[in-house]
Symmetry: C2
Subunit: 186 residues, 2 copies
């Protein structure tokens, strides 16, 4: 009975890779266990169950997304505004990691401090970019919600194949970001 060398982090990372492959709703303990060539109940030594695994996955994904957004907002903008750079980074993460991205949509429980902290980091990056656009206070909160709604809606519908018409999706995204940008500045 050799040890497989599991720990919570390895389990969560395996789950993240799995959901990117097969879809967020297809995450099963059986698939994760198979990946490590281990029996399913063994995973319970490292995570609390499927719900706990989903929760840890959400933290991982929101942290990764936050890091990508912070890098995009802080780094060089390739001749473009921070706002557009941020939006592109958001969509890029969702396209590269559809399963992880889907995991980010999860309300933090009352005592889920890790997820709440990761979400706050994302929010503060967005608010910083909006602040450079001159938005503060309640206006900035409204704007952050608008930006997150629009970006989230777009990438979700894109992932679900909800854009039926032949019109190029990249151009529609650019149009969305421009529309938002104009609306926020006016």
């Amino acid at each position: 009975m050799p040890r497989a060398g599991l720990d919570p982090d390895r389990v969560v990372r395996a789950a993240a890779d799995l959901v990117d492959d097969v879809g967020h709703d297809q995450l099963t303990l059986a698939a994760v266990a198979a990946h490590f060539d281990v029996a399913v109940p063994s995973l319970y030594k490292h995570v609390g169950g499927i719900d706990d695994l989903h929760g840890r996955l959400a933290v991982l994904a929101v942290e990764e997304l936050g890091a990508r957004l912070a890098a995009a907002a802080g780094g060089p903008h390739a001749g473009d505004e921070p706002f557009r750079t941020l939006a592109r980074a958001y969509r890029a993460y969702a396209v590269e990691h559809p399963g992880r991205y889907a995991a980010t949509v999860r309300a933090p429980g009352p005592d889920d401090v890790a997820l709440r902290a990761a979400s706050d980091a994302v929010l503060s990056t967005v608010l910083a970019v909006l602040g450079d656009l001159g938005l503060t206070g309640d206006d900035a909160v409204d704007a952050a919600r608008a930006v997150r709604s629009a970006l989230h809606g777009f990438v979700t519908l894109e992932a679900a194949g909800g854009f039926g018409l032949p019109r190029d999706v990249d151009r529609s995204f650019t149009s969305l970001v421009d529309t938002l940008h104009r609306g926020l500045l006016a």
Copy 2:
């Protein structure tokens, strides 16, 4: 062994009421069967299984949503623009029927003619409203995607409890609609 008087429509409507109560991802054949006081396999005489039921539920929900939007776009606007009236109707449906609304996010399969028709009806209502704003052709398609993305993102995040800050959600929604409206007109 008395007949329960089931038919596909009654099964789907029961499923719709159920998901509005317990959440879209909690739809089970067991719960639907229990509602009719019937054994689970009996449902297979009326629907093809859980996947088929999800598909039929999507059609029902998109049709209902389309009817609500068409009524809002065509009816009296209470002194407001059709665009805002449409947006409010969209959110109202999602708030009143969270489970049904979640079911609407489903890419129509290649031969899913019913869902495709229902989706087209929604799209044409949106395009009609955008046409009155002077948007046509590719611009209108981009605008329709932007509008659907923003509305879908907002109501999804609202339903998921993703708006942590205390700022009033109704006001944020109004702000989102105004921002979009300004951006589309500019």
